[in-house]
């Protein structure tokens, strides 16, 4: 088992953990944490493929993706924290099951 496979396995595990977290928790913050974990799993994949690809075939592409992804995730976190606070103000808790006002 080479290093790439190990990385991919780790990232898959991370993704599954994130997914399960997002699907199973009712606390909005925890759901969002799960989503962040899934994002990081994807980031790990990018790095792994970049690091273990044949030399010169993909110069720095993976790293750039990841850098962007982290920046976006940070911005996203700011937004979702604001949203969660607004949600709390609105319904006095942050249970995601109860936040169904946007239903069609």
């Amino acid at each position: 088992m080479n290093m790439l496979q190990a990385c991919l396995l780790l990232s898959s595990a991370l993704f599954c953990i994130g997914l399960v977290t997002a699907l199973s928790r009712s606390n909005t913050i925890l759901v969002l944490l799960g989503i962040e974990i899934m994002l990081n799993a994807a980031n790990l994949n990018f790095i792994a493929f970049w690091r273990f690809s044949p030399a010169g075939s993909a110069p720095a592409t993976g790293v750039i993706f990841v850098l962007f992804s982290i920046a976006v995730a940070a911005a996203e976190a700011a937004v979702w924290l604001a949203l969660v606070i607004a949600l709390y103000r609105h319904q006095q808790n942050i249970r995601l099951q109860e936040a169904t006002r946007l239903k069609g």
């Binding site: 699907l23 009712s26 759901v31 995601l96 099951q97 936040a99 169904t100 006002r101 239903k103 069609g104």
Partner: protein
Amino acid sequence: MNLSASSLWLIPALPLLAAAIGALTPRGGRSLASGAAIIAMVGALGLSVAALGTALAHPAAHLTDNFTWFSIGTDAVRLGWLLDPLTAFMAVMVSFVGLLIFIFSLGYMKEDANFTRFFCFLSLFAAAMLGVLVANSLLLVFVCWELVGLASYLLIGFWFHKPSAAAAAKKAFITTRIGDLGLLLGMLWLYHVRGTLLFYDGGNGVLEPSSLALLSHGKIAGGIALSTAIGLLIFCGAIGKSGQFPLHVWLPDAMEGPTPVSALIHAATMVAAGVFLIARVYPLMLADQHLANVSVHALTVVAGIGAITALLGAAIAVGQNDIKRVLAFSTVSQLGYMMLALGVGSWVAAIFHLLTHAFFKALLFLGAGSVIHAAHHEQDMRRLGGLGRRMKITFATFAVGMMALAGVPFLFSGFWSKEGILHAAHAWPVSQLPLIAGLIAVVLTAFYMTRLVAEVFLGSPRSDAASHAHENSPVMTVPLVILAIGAVLLGLIGTPAWPWLQSNLGGVVVPAESIFEGPGLMVLSIVLVCLGLGVGWALYGWRKRRDAFAPDPLAVAMPGVFAALAAKLGFDEFYALTFGRLNQLLAVVADGLDRWVWGGIISGVAWMGEALGTFDREMDESGLNGGFDAASEKLRGVGNAYSRAQTGEAHGYLRTLAVAFVVLALLLLLGGVL
């Protein structure tokens, strides 16, 4: 005294001015209105006498003064004044008789609230009538002629609050207008052919030889000369105005007006206008006489109409019970005589009779007015009676008038003028029928006048009104006396012994033989007059009527005939059934055309437009709009269905995401991509 043709307009202008004063005077100004009217008539009389003086100085001349009324394009419509003996004699008669009637009205209309208006209308009438006389243009004659009609309308309807008076006024105007339309057409024709309507215009007038030659030359369809056609159309106007058969029906009804009006308008002057008109255009009427190959001569028709009217009027007068209606039909009959005289070629005899008739008929009407006034407006002779003793002056003057009308020999003017007509009829080469009609009418006239006098003045009073009647004031009796004197003396100027009037009227000296060819006819007519008087006396004078409800002796003797005469031979009913119906029918047709046909077409077009609109709307709503609506309804359903997936639950979405991811991954795996 002299009056030139150029100042002739003053004669009608004076009464016109008085009419204007009367129109503008408020109701209270009684003496102003009547004073102005009477002064104006005195002035007109003076001027007329002056005009007569001028005319008699040149009896054969036609003195004219023509002027332009207005210009139209390069044409000018010209009018003028004409002075000849015919004008002058008529003007003197009209203003003189008019003046007396004006004075009589002072008394007769004293109590009327609209006294000022009455004198305004009377003056208007006098002005228009005098205008007819002095006009030297058929157009001006027509203008004044219509104004005469207006004045007559106003005066007949003077007591307009009475429905019968209002109806009579309308009937008079409408009936005469029928004749006037003929006159208008004749005038238009003449104008078209000759380019002028002036009677005398230094050789260019329509009555002058060059014009007459042209008019009698032209023929129109049916072998009628142009002058005949025009002449007969003009005669239509005379038929209407002079109450000739078949348009005589308005004249008896016109007695609804105040009695002085009946005297002035419907006996003495206005109804004579028709006779005057024919006398005025006599050269035109004569123009076809020399033509042998024409189907009819204008004057033959005139004579025929005149004879029928003379006979018809006299006969109907026999059956009337209203004093004024008897006199009205008598007027119709006498006007028939005049037309007869015109027709048989003696316009001079016609005018002579016109003048004498004006006096004695005005006298009779004013006498009747005096009776009516005294008897509190009782006009039915069956309810009068015995007035001779109570109203001596009225009786005496009325008797004079009656004898003049009946043609009692020698002393009375009516005798001489009637003789003139009968002689002329006798001398007519075409036919003796007019003479026979005239002679029968002589008997009838004497008969009905005897009946009238006997019923009204003799016997005993048959009503309260009659038994309390008193003679009227001098303002009413003096005119009667003056007229009675005239009715006697006027005959003197036209007797065969001294035919002064005849000689001066025509401008040629008339030898006595031409109006008196021998004693035969005169004796015959005297016998006939005596016959009429005698039969009348036998029926009505000998055994006097006891009470108002006793049947008329004639009705006992000949009930059918009397009933027919009393019903005026049914002319009114006949006209109502024919022309009245026709008129209504035309009105209904015209109105119906509008309402149903044209209105229907318009409604049809509108309906079609509306139907198209409705169809269009239906198409839009159910077709086009329906399709769109259905499609958008579908779309909305789809949207609704889809929106059910939007639960708003983030977990649900995530789950779906996850499942979708797994499914995607499986698909890819199974597809062998991974």
